[in-house]
Symmetry: C2
Subunit: 208 residues, 2 copies
DNA sequence: ATTACATTGTTAATTGTTTGACAAGCCTGA
DNA sequence: TCAGGCTTGTCAAACAATTAACAATGTAAT
């Protein structure tokens, strides 16, 4: 689509998308970079420059049409097509994520849950039967799997990820507390809860 | 402690801490910035510069002592004292986080769970009885609460956060999909799962 | 003890990001 | 339709972060 967008910009796009969604809900039709900057606590200049990485979505003297801009950012973020997700590791966090994906996000669909514990076999979480990890290969070969969510202990993350990349998986949503070593072209999005808590702890300590 | 450390550096410290912890487990006694850089896939220069923000922890011709550096970073990240945590919103994610804090992190202690649903009153999650949100005020006045984890819908996040800051809460671990507007001096660490998924989705789309 | 080597801490250069400024151009009301 | 006011897109300047380079200094082998 576009090339060489800086990571800093990408990380801000979901936030724009969220604010625009709220404006839409509130029935706001148009917004200027200045108004938006005040709401979001960023500079208007940054907003205009960020958006211009992807195209001229606004109009002089008018601002941005909220619906249009929302849709455009949606396209940029890939919200126009469905992503099939499977999850490996149906513990507490895994169940929470399974539910989250099911109810919160319309462009993601949870289509499979896997665990290593035989006691969980066949049990249902948010309407999906839990399968065993050794059934993964067959499943992936017979279904379109776009994303694998890993909610497993760090020890198993690396071997499971390797097995999955060998089977052609191209994207991971990784909650295991380890950095996955994946082949070129495979995408890993990390959610490191522990790092997040540590950062919080640092800031608390600093404040005192 | 120290002043004006850039956010970029702070965000990397937990990762160093993690890698050093693993080296310790593997019985490695010393490590050079060069070795570490190869393992972590960052430049040696960045490692040395990051660490030097906090002091000269290494030695020429030798490198860094793993145990010493681990302990020093632990101090920097506030791992030397206990943080009492309470959690508001005992849904799927709340339960997962409650368990996570309980079992994964030694310097954090979950001391209270709160929900608005009367049906949950008195039930236990990871050994802690769920209380009602209207009991929050009394609890906070009688306990040392360092961090409040918010695992509630975005609609309730803002009012609850306001109430809590009024009661003197100084730090939030926020999982609600909204940016909290808090007074000066109050710390918010966000975990926006949705933003994370969107970033993943963007990268998948870009790859195609 | 001495020498060759390894490695840090630090300064300088480079690269990347954010902010400020303003010309160009659309909007709106008269 | 026209004039005045907004607001964008963009260029340039300021600022921040990363990388490279190297002198200073300790290590370790002989």
């Amino acid at each position: 689509m576009e090339k060489g967008i800086s990571p800093a910009v990408i990380r801000r796009m979901p936030r724009y998308y969220r604010y625009l969604g709220e404006l839409l809900e509130d029935g706001v039709e148009r917004i200027s970079s200045n108004d938006l900057s005040r709401r979001m606590h960023v500079t208007a200049s940054q907003i205009r420059q960020d958006l211009n990485n992807f195209g001229g979505f606004g109009q002089q003297g008018y601002g941005y049409n909220v619906q249009f801009l929302y849709d455009e950012i949606g396209k940029i973020l890939g919200q126009t097509h469905m992503n099939n997700v499977i999850l490996v590791g149906v513990g507490n966090l895994g169940q929470a994520i399974a539910n989250y994906v099911k109810f919160e996000k319309l462009s993601f669909r949870m289509i499979g849950l896997f665990d290593i514990d035989p006691a969980k076999k066949g049990k249902e979480v948010s309407g999906i039967k839990i399968q065993m990890v050794d059934e993964l290969e067959a499943f992936i070969k017979t279904h379109q799997v776009d994303i694998v969510a890993l909610t497993i202990p760090k020890e198993s993350a690396e071997p499971i990820a390797r097995k999955l990349t060998d089977l052609g998986v191209k994207a991971f949503w990784n909650f295991a507390h380890v950095d996955l070593d994946v082949p070129e072209g495979v995408i890993v999005e990390n959610v490191h809860l522990s790092d997040s808590l540590m950062t919080l702890s640092y800031n608390i300590t600093k404040m005192k």
